[in-house]
């Protein structure tokens, strides 16, 4: 877990990390966007896996 209680979530298919601190500005998700605030129908930009198949990265 990074500073300010911002977390990271990992795609179980392709392994990319969604960081709440960094967001995904290229995908229209600003830095600081909490995972819970990303729409449920959002999919991994790398592999298309659904949000349901991301897991919290536990330090």
């Amino acid at each position: 877990m990074s500073e300010d209680n911002l977390e990271q979530y990992e795609c179980m298919t392709c392994g990319i990390i969604y960081s709440e601190a960094a967001g995904l500005p290229d995908e229209g998700i600003p830095p600081g966007t909490k995972w819970a605030d990303i729409p449920d129908d959002w999919t991994c930009p790398e592999c298309g896996t659904g949000k349901f198949d991301f897991e919290l990265v536990v330090s």
Binding site: M12, C14, E46
Partner: protein, 409 residues
């Protein structure tokens, strides 16, 4: 005669020009094409990016297991009798949820970006070894036979834990498995020959499993040999199949990319110059080589409900065949797709598939390709074809069979 039958002709599909010409024809005129061939169960051939991406992303609606790759009908009967499944093997590509996720999870940590990144030093060293070899061959060699077939083989075998002296045998078995339709690589024409290839893999990996149970090491073989699924040892067919896919797809595809990638650079000297003068482009170049070569030609899915694609109705239970190289040259999804452009943004390419079955080894493939050219290009003064390259005759996994080159370091 319907040109779609050429999809099943390894001579047509083993020639880069004729293969892409066929894909262009189908994509433009018959994008959801019903293929009826005397030697194969019928299927629908899909060649448009949008359709292939959609199907790939919806694994519960379009299943892998019932029929995973194109196999001749008579050989499917043999596989069913011998292994209890028309697919023969039960690898990750043959599985659906929930089994697929459970078994993919067994090795997932080895292939995720952070883990692959830790292998950079080792892969760099292997890449250097093969570029050194190329330099030592005196300015002329068959790049495919001497270099690109062997470099990814060494990388994946070192990850699995197969000894270097076993690699020639692994290469031969892989060529017999994927290149079985090519007379120069096939073990023979009889169905027993194809079965013999699988049995040789089974014999080897069964012994390796026992060895790693008794003497565990820090390698993938030990992980697979000792893995538990739902608290129980992995089923033997699943386990041996896992070894087979790691030991074959883990190098044959990357070999095709490295060989095809160098071919593309030779044919596009402006791109070679750009790469030489801008080291920041190696990763991007690797991704473009993967898109441009697209070694995995197809995978299949089975519909679970009635569907419609491009106005064509398809019933539940029918077979779909997704042609990835066709998708990667679809101008409705990829700009100027026939242009080899190392600066291209390749987030939309489908050579690794898409969705839950997206290639487990994609990060390894990209890193291997990047590392090889990062080592080679700065050292290479010039390179040209010494003879025309030759391709493996195949309809599932394709690539170069030989590529004689002349060069100066």
């Amino acid at each position: 005669m319907n040109r779609n039958l050429d999809l099943l002709d390894p001579v047509v599909m083993g020639d880069e020009v004729s293969m892409y010409s066929l894909f262009e024809h189908l994509r433009e005129t018959d994008p959801v094409s019903y293929v009826e061939h005397p030697d194969y169960e019928p299927f629908w051939a899909l060649t448009r990016h949008k359709d292939i991406k959609f199907i790939s992303q919806n694994n519960s609606r379009f299943l892998n297991n019932p029929r995973t790759v194109l196999v001749q009908r008579e050989f499917e009967k043999v596989l069913l009798e011998q292994f209890g499944t028309r697919n023969g093997l039960e690898t990750l590509i043959h599985m659906d949820a929930p089994k697929h996720k459970k078994l993919r999870g067994v090795t997932r940590d080895w292939f995720k970006p952070a883990a692959i990144g830790e292998l950079s030093g080792d892969i760099e060293a292997i890449a250097k070894k093969y570029v050194d070899k190329m330099e030592s061959l005196g300015g002329e060699c068959d790049f495919v036979k001497e270099i690109s077939l062997l470099y990814p083989l060494r990388v994946i075998m070192s990850i699995i834990g197969v000894a270097p002296e076993e690699e020639p045998m692994m290469l031969k078995l892989t060529q017999e498995l994927f290149g079985g339709a090519d007379p120069s690589q096939s073990r023979g024409d009889e169905t027993g020959d194809g079965l013999g290839v699988l049995m040789d893999f089974f014999t080897y990996f069964t012994a390796l499993v026992e060895e790693r149970k008794a003497n565990p090491r820090d390698d993938l073989a030990t992980v697979l040999a000792n893995s538990l699924v739902d608290g129980e040892p992995m089923e033997q067919l699943d386990q041996i199949s896992y070894f087979i896919i790691a030991a074959t797809a883990g190098h044959d595809t990357t070999s095709a990319t490295v060989g095809g990638g160098l071919k593309a650079l030779i044919e596009h000297p402006d791109q070679l110059d750009k790469l030489r003068s801008n080291p920041d482009l190696y990763k991007s170049a690797a991704r473009e080589m993967i898109r441009y070569t697209a070694p995995v030609r197809h995978m299949m899915r089975t519909t679970t409900q009635d569907e419609t694609f491009q106005g064509q109705s398809i019933k539940a239970g029918e077979s779909l065949c997704l042609w990835y190289p066709a998708a990667n040259r679809d101008s409705t999804a990829i700009e100027n797709p026939d242009v080899f452009d190392i600066e291209r943004d390749n987030r939309n390419q489908l050579a690794f598939g898409y969705g839950g079955h997206m290639c487990l080894g994609q990060h390894l493939a990209i890193l291997e390709t990047e590392m090889f050219f990062r080592e080679l290009i700065p050292r290479l003064k010039s390179i040209e074809f010494a003879e025309d390259p030759d391709w493996v005759q195949a309809i599932f996994v394709g690539g170069l069979k030989s590529m004689p080159v002349r060069y100066q370091f």
